[in-house]
């Protein structure tokens, strides 16, 4: 279970009530949750707080009952997909996925098997050596999903739990409807197969329906 307890954050150097974002929600484990809301309401900010790219002013974030607020992004049980620039364009597909295992890539048998498995699960076999620029938008997001998948299947060095929290920051919004539906289907399969907990930000109400997800709507603090 992911608990966001009275977390506040502000981009302003001098936070006051009117420029401070407040979050308080609980996300069920091994499920898909969709976050909706107007532009600028703080949907992406919430994901960045969970991932550790931003530090809350107050409150706490708990995963499986333990606070993750003091951990560095790499130590958190999190894999995140962004709307764009998820992959390094100068690296091939294999290396981009392998970075999910460890930035200091070592080509061990275990890691090779793990990557092959995720490649096969996402249906992107046969393109290991292709450069990112030669892939379609849908293929690129599948590669990013594959990286999130391999990442979710290993444990952070000092944690017993795996990185089973998948944060999706509108990663499929630029795709055509057919490819998008396909990618959403892949997310559903990943969650069901690997027992992940997915939290997805979207503008499209149809996404929640397609994912059979719980929906949270962020509202302006009055």
């Amino acid at each position: 279970m992911l608990e966001i307890k009275d977390v506040t954050f502000s981009y302003a150097p001098a936070p006051i009530a009117s420029n401070t974002l407040c979050f308080d929600l609980t996300v069920k484990a091994q499920s898909i949750t969709v976050i909706e809301g107007m532009s600028g309401i703080g949907k992406s900010t919430l994901l960045h707080l969970i991932a550790g790219f931003l530090t809350p002013l107050s409150g706490d974030i708990l995963w499986q009952g333990q606070s993750i607020c003091g951990l560095l992004p790499a130590e958190r049980p999190v894999s995140m997909l962004f709307q764009n620039d998820n992959l390094f364009p100068h690296l091939d597909v294999w290396t981009n996925i392998a970075i999910g295992l460890a930035a200091n890539i070592r080509n061990s048998t275990d890691s090779r098997e793990m990557i092959e498995q995720s490649v096969s699960d996402l249906g992107i076999q046969g393109m290991n050596k292709r450069m990112i620029s030669t892939l379609s938008g849908g293929q690129q997001q599948r590669v990013a999903l594959a990286r999130a998948l391999v990442r979710s299947r290993i444990s952070p060095s000092d944690q017993s739990s795996k990185r089973s929290l998948l944060l999706l920051d509108e990663p499929f919004s630029a795709l055509d409807p057919e490819t998008k539906a396909d990618c959403l289907d892949q997310v559903k399969q990943m969650v069901a197969r690997d027992g992940l907990t997915a939290l997805m930000v979207t503008h499209d109400p149809a996404d929640a329906k397609n994912l059979d997800a719980t929906v949270f709507s962020l509202k302006q603090n009055s």
Binding site: H48, A51, G52, F53, L72, P73, A74, E75, V78, S79, M80, F82, N84, D85, N86, F88, H90, L91, I99, G100, A102, A103, N104, R151
Partner: protein, 578 residues
């Protein structure tokens, strides 16, 4: 039908510009042909039936100058890249550190500081009477240690260090924005996957700058290969030289015009090779505009704060850059202001040199700004035609290459060509100011044209339909559409060219006389006579004036770019009507 918009456009102004632009190109090409013919005639006298190759290999100085120029250029290039790569990375990841804004400003000022001033600054730190040596001698005096003393600074190491002083900042101005423009999600990915600084270098920073390493090395090599004033001031004799220095020595010291012509021909051959390399490498053409544009801050912190050892390494890097770029300027200021400043100011020759320098610099800047605008407009007009005829394609090619060639031909070579061409018709030293002015204009034009032409053409294309739809005339179009967009760029080239011209110690070396001196030449004379304190004072004054003319360009740019507003007038008239 294809040319309809072209004809309609012409009916609404700027008709004279393509023609005048082509006249400039014609004049440039004609000048080159004339000068080249004169050089060929002088290089191959009728009574010497040798082949051109034999003529070129006839003097041992030519081979030695080539060898020496290649060695110092290679070492300078390697040194510059070895400084620029780590420093760019440190400046990116420590962007918000205290003092970094000043360091970034200093990397930009390296474009403005005259070479003579930089040489004086380096001498103020590393010379016999420099800060370091003075400190070593003081330590020796206070302790029983044997006398510690730096060896003579002049020679290869001085030239290489001076080239690094100028070219490492140029590289940093190219590499740093590329690192800062890495998508922020890549930095987030790096943090999420726990990349170490080494991984970050491997996957993010190095790929960001890798594409620019080779073009920048080529560019810096070309700059160093054709270096003149730094080698002249710091080379310390004939052991370290370049073709340009040898040309100068042949004309002004040995009075060997034949050797000067041979060296010039050799330099032109090298320039043509350089031009071909530049034309083949599209990245090279973009470097200058990139280097002078501002650096945008990163939107996120690009490194986790937990690496303390790295922080120490980064501090060492920043101190190194500080000592490379800023220490010479501080030492020079200290010596210049505490030394013979008032003696220099009391000399009439200083004021005469200042007047000459200012007159030449400001006239050059005005001419170059106007010519660059005319050429950019010509390029736009030539590019406007949907189906260009053969002559129009040729005209466009001529425009690009004639402007480019002055970028690779050093001013000394231009000066020698002028010397050979005009010596039979006029008293060279009587017309020296005009020759220096012409050479400076030719030197400033390519960079200025490169800086504004892209944006000029783009902005003219963007407002083309609006202009035609509202039937804007030339004056309105210039006032409301062109200047608000281009004003700052025009101011920038004005300031840059004025500063470059102010500090130039190139062609003046050939044409200076007791009647005609510029500030850089006066500084060179003082340094050559070992009047170090006077030279330092002149260097400080020269730097002050150079920075002043550079900022004058910024002011002009600011005034030009102020978008005229009719709102106030409209409101008053509306109120009255009401």
């Amino acid at each position: 039908m294809a040319n309809h918009s072209y004809i309609y456009h012409y009916a609404h102004g700027f008709r004279f510009l393509p023609l005048s632009g082509l006249v400039i190109v014609g004049a440039l090409c004609g000048g080159f042909v004339l000068a080249f013919t004169a050089l060929l005639q002088a290089a191959a006298p009728l009574d010497a039936p040798q082949s051109f190759y034999e003529l070129l290999t006839s003097d041992a100085r030519i081979g030695f100058a080539l060898q020496s120029a290649l060695l110092q250029a290679a070492l300078s290039t390697i040194g510059s890249v070895m400084v620029a790569v780590p420093v760019s990375i440190v400046m990116a990841r420590r962007y918000h550190w205290f003092g970094m804004a000043f360091l970034r400003l200093m990397t930009g000022l390296a474009f403005v500081i005259p070479t003579t001033v930089a040489a004086s600054g380096l001498l103020a730190v590393w010379g016999r009477q420099g800060v370091i040596n003075s400190m070593l001698i003081a330590i020796s005096d206070m302790t029983p240690l044997p006398l510690l003393e730096l060896p003579s600074f002049f020679g290869l190491k001085a030239v290489v260090l001076a080239h690094i002083f100028f070219n490492a900042p140029l590289m940093i101005r190219i590499f740093l924005p590329r690192i800062l423009s890495v998508p922020e999600n890549h930095w987030r990915l790096a943090r999420m996957t726990g990349m170490t600084p080494r991984d970050q270098f491997r996957y993010i920073e190095w790929p960001a700058i890798r594409a620019m390493i080779t073009p920048m090395m080529v560019l810096v090599f070309l700059f160093c290969f054709s270096s003149f004033s730094l080698v002249l001031m710091l080379g310390g004799g004939p052991a370290v030289t370049t073709l340009e220095v040898e040309i100068y020595a042949a004309i002004r010291i040995a009075y060997d015009f034949h050797l000067a012509v041979l060296l010039t021909m050799m330099q032109i051959a090298v320039a043509v090779i350089m031009l071909l390399i530049m034309l083949c490498h599209p990245m090279l053409r973009q470097t200058m505009p990139q280097a002078v544009t501002g650096i945008k801050p990163p939107s996120i912190h690009i490194l986790s704060s937990r690496y303390n050892l790295l922080k120490i390494i980064d501090i060492i890097c920043v101190i190194f850059l500080f000592s490379l770029l800023i220490l010479p300027i501080i030492a020079l200021f200290f010596r210049g202001l505490t030394g013979d400043l008032f003696i220099v100011l009391a000399e009439p020759v200083f004021w005469q040199a200042l007047q000459n320098s200012l007159l030449i610099a400001l006239t050059t800047a005005c001419c170059v700004s106007i010519l660059a605008m005319m050429l950019a407009e010509t390029r736009y007009q030539l590019g406007l035609i949907n189906s260009p005829t053969r002559w129009q394609v040729v005209a466009r090619l001529l425009l690009e290459s004639s402007v480019m060639i002055t970028l690779v031909i050093p001013s000394i070579v231009m000066g020698t060509a002028m010397f050979i061409l005009l010596r039979s018709y006029a008293d060279i030293f009587a017309i020296a100011p005009y020759l220096v002015l012409t050479a400076n204009i030719l030197m400033g034009l390519p960079v200025s044209y490169r800086l504004i032409s892209g944006k000029w053409v783009l902005s003219r294309q963007q407002d083309q339909h609006l202009r035609l739809a509202y039937g804007m005339n030339r004056r309105t179009s210039l006032r409301f559409l062109i200047m608000p967009v281009m004003g700052r760029d025009i101011g920038l080239i004005f300031g840059m060219v004025a500063a470059m011209s102010m500090g130039d110690l190139g062609v003046i070396a050939l044409f200076s006389s007791s009647d005609f001196k510029t500030l850089p030449w006066l500084l060179y004379e003082q340094a050559g006579r070992y009047r170090t304190d006077e030279a330092s004072a002149t260097a400080v004054l020269l730097m002050g004036v150079t920075i002043m003319v550079f900022f004058m360009g910024s002011l002009i740019g600011h005034l030009l770019s102020r978008a005229p507003s009719m709102a106030a007038t409209h409101m008053i008239s509306h109120h009255k009507a009401g």
